[in-house]
């Protein structure tokens, strides 16, 4: 281990001047911020912020378009999920939080559909790999929502019926087709 030392200069070794300098910096911040806090109370200079804090539940910073929030499953025009139970997301998921049970779809062109599709958000690590893996414009993480706390594990298990009802955050939609809209053939695999 290399220890990088710093020998104090004579002025620094007195501490006093360095302490005074440090106190000047912090008290300058204090006085500046206090001035604007009081000005805000009096309704003056509302455009000059006195603190960088975002008071979270009341105000939120705008989300990036690439922000990965809670999952949703895109719907076909008939309202059924676009998922074809290909198991790619379940396979790619590094924490194995997706569980799909596949069933045979009556339409031979579609072949398969998820009988059950569960995402265990207690395990999800929000990596977004499932979203990247999905070949059929079905699984997205563009709802702009954070997972809500629940009282049981059951509350934190998101099922197909719930996921298909979720909507993308306006302006942040990443799917080719909006939920329930768009031609069937407009998805990458032509399904």
């Amino acid at each position: 281990m290399k220890i990088v030392g710093h020998n104090l200069t004579t002025k620094e070794s007195f501490y006093f001047f360095e302490i005074a300098k440090g106190l000047w910096i912090t008290s300058r911040h204090f006085i500046y911020n206090m001035y604007f806090h009081i000005a805000h109370l009096l309704g003056k200079y509302p455009e000059v912020p006195a603190a960088v804090t975002v008071q979270y539940p009341e105000e939120k910073v705008p989300l990036s378009r690439r922000w990965r929030g809670r999952h949703r499953i895109n719907a076909r025009p008939d309202g059924s999920p676009r998922c074809v139970a290909c198991m790619l997301c379940e396979t790619v998921c590094p924490v194995q939080c997706i569980h799909i049970v596949a069933g045979e779809h009556p339409d031979p062109a579609i072949e398969k559909y998820p009988v059950s599709f569960e995402i265990d958000v207690t395990r999800c690590c929000w990596c977004g790999m499932c979203e990247e893996a999905c070949p059929v414009d079905a699984l997205y993480m563009d709802t702009g929502k954070s997972p809500e706390p629940g009282f049981s594990r059951e509350d934190l298990l998101y099922r197909k019926e719930q996921l298909v009802k979720e909507m993308p955050l306006p302006g942040c939609q990443r799917s080719l087709n909006a939920p329930g809209q768009g031609p069937m053939e407009a998805n990458p695999l032509g399904l």
Binding site: F16, S27, F30, H37, Q55
Partner: protein, 359 residues
């Protein structure tokens, strides 16, 4: 006789009411001030019926939390001493205020009421003695916890307090020499004089080096950053690790009360106590120019509030220092105390003596 007792009790109620309330508010002020200094907003979520009043409910919420928490005594520890230690911390910090004069003598209804709870003729020695007694709470807390790390923390604290006690005592000697008394009332009255007719002869004017030394040593006595090695919340374990609930709260409050006590002592010794420059018993008085007579009660009221404001300013300043400086390393702390503060305090005494001898 009966009236004297009532007056004394009233003075105690006023002074301790002020100190305890300011101590509670300091726990709020520490969060808020650090937040403002760091461009944040700070604690503002305690909410009573939709009112938040800048987070001022937080001290109350803290107290309720600490009173309702489990109060745990280590089974192998000494329950009596474990309980005694936090009370000792509170008591020694609080009792210092008994000798600090907070106003001029009040003449009311033919009575002379000195605005000071106890005018002891050993004033300064009393303060130093109880400051020294304060470290028993630290040692007892660490020892009775039956925890190696608490004990080590309390040993660190004891070593630190003893080292800085020396510099503290020696730096006060300069003030005693300058005003020729160890009675705090005399010292404060002595600060009502003027140098060259215009500069108030406050302790800071008479003892600039002494003030810096005293203030530094006193901050070390309060065991707060940059001298918070005894507790060091974040990494090395301190002496009150085994405390929970309101006993921990008592240590916490004791620390804030110590801050106020130090602010009070610094005000009394170095910043003129209740003196306001150019305000005497007769009213506003500019030497050689004019006097504006003011009623006696108004003068006393102004002086008492001046004392309160000075104390609050030093509380603010100590919080400012606490949120500006990083902590000393232990060897730096000891070297700073013994090789820097003590020799400088001795030099201060010699120089003060020389100046006294020459003039």
């Amino acid at each position: 006789m009966c009236l004297d007792v009532i007056i004394t009790l009233l003075k105690i109620a006023i002074v301790f009411g002020f100190v305890l309330n300011v101590a509670a508010i300091l726990s709020w002020a520490e969060r808020k001030q650090s937040a403002v200094m760091q461009d944040r907003i700070g604690a503002n979520r305690a909410d009573v019926l939709g009112f938040r009043i800048f987070g001022l409910f937080h001290p109350i919420a803290d107290t309720i939390k600490m009173l309702t928490k489990e109060d745990w005594v280590p089974p192998a520890g000494d329950a009596f001493i474990h309980t005694l230690a936090p009370f000792l911390a509170l008591f020694t910090a609080l009792v210092v205020f008994a000798v600090i004069p907070f106003g001029d003598t009040l003449h009311i209804a033919g009575r002379d009421i000195p605005l000071q709870i106890a005018d002891l003729n050993v004033g300064i020695l009393f303060i130093v003695a109880f400051g020294g007694l304060g470290f028993y709470s630290v040692v007892l807390a660490g020892w009775s916890s039956e925890n190696k790390y608490s004990l080590l923390g309390s040993i660190r604290a004891a070593a630190q307090l003893i080292s800085y006690e020396l510099a503290l005592g020696l730096s006060i000697v300069g003030v005693v020499m300058a005003y020729g008394s160890i009675e705090l009332d005399d010292i404060v009255r002595g600060q009502g004089q003027y140098v060259l007719g215009v500069i108030p002869y406050w302790g800071i004017v008479a003892q600039p080096l002494g003030f810096i030394l005293f203030f530094t040593a006193a901050m070390a006595e309060t065991k707060r950053v940059p001298f918070d090695l005894p507790e060091s919340e974040s990494e090395i374990i301190g002496y009150f690790t085994e405390y929970s609930g309101m006993k921990f709260g008592a240590f916490w409050m004791g620390e804030f009360i110590e801050v106020i006590s130090v602010a009070g002592v610094v005000t009394a010794l170095y910043f003129g106590g209740w003196q306001i420059p150019f305000l005497s018993n007769q009213g506003i008085f500019i030497p050689g120019l004019f006097t504006i007579p003011l009623p006696h009660l108004l003068v006393v009221l102004l002086q008492v509030s001046a004392f309160g404001l000075k104390v609050l300013f030093f509380c603010w300043f100590m919080l400012l220092v606490r949120w500006t400086l990083p902590r000393f390393r232990y060897d730096q702390l000891m070297a700073f105390g013994w090789k820097f503060m003590v020799p400088l305090a001795l030099v201060n005494i010699v120089v003060t003596g020389l100046i006294k001898y020459v003039f």
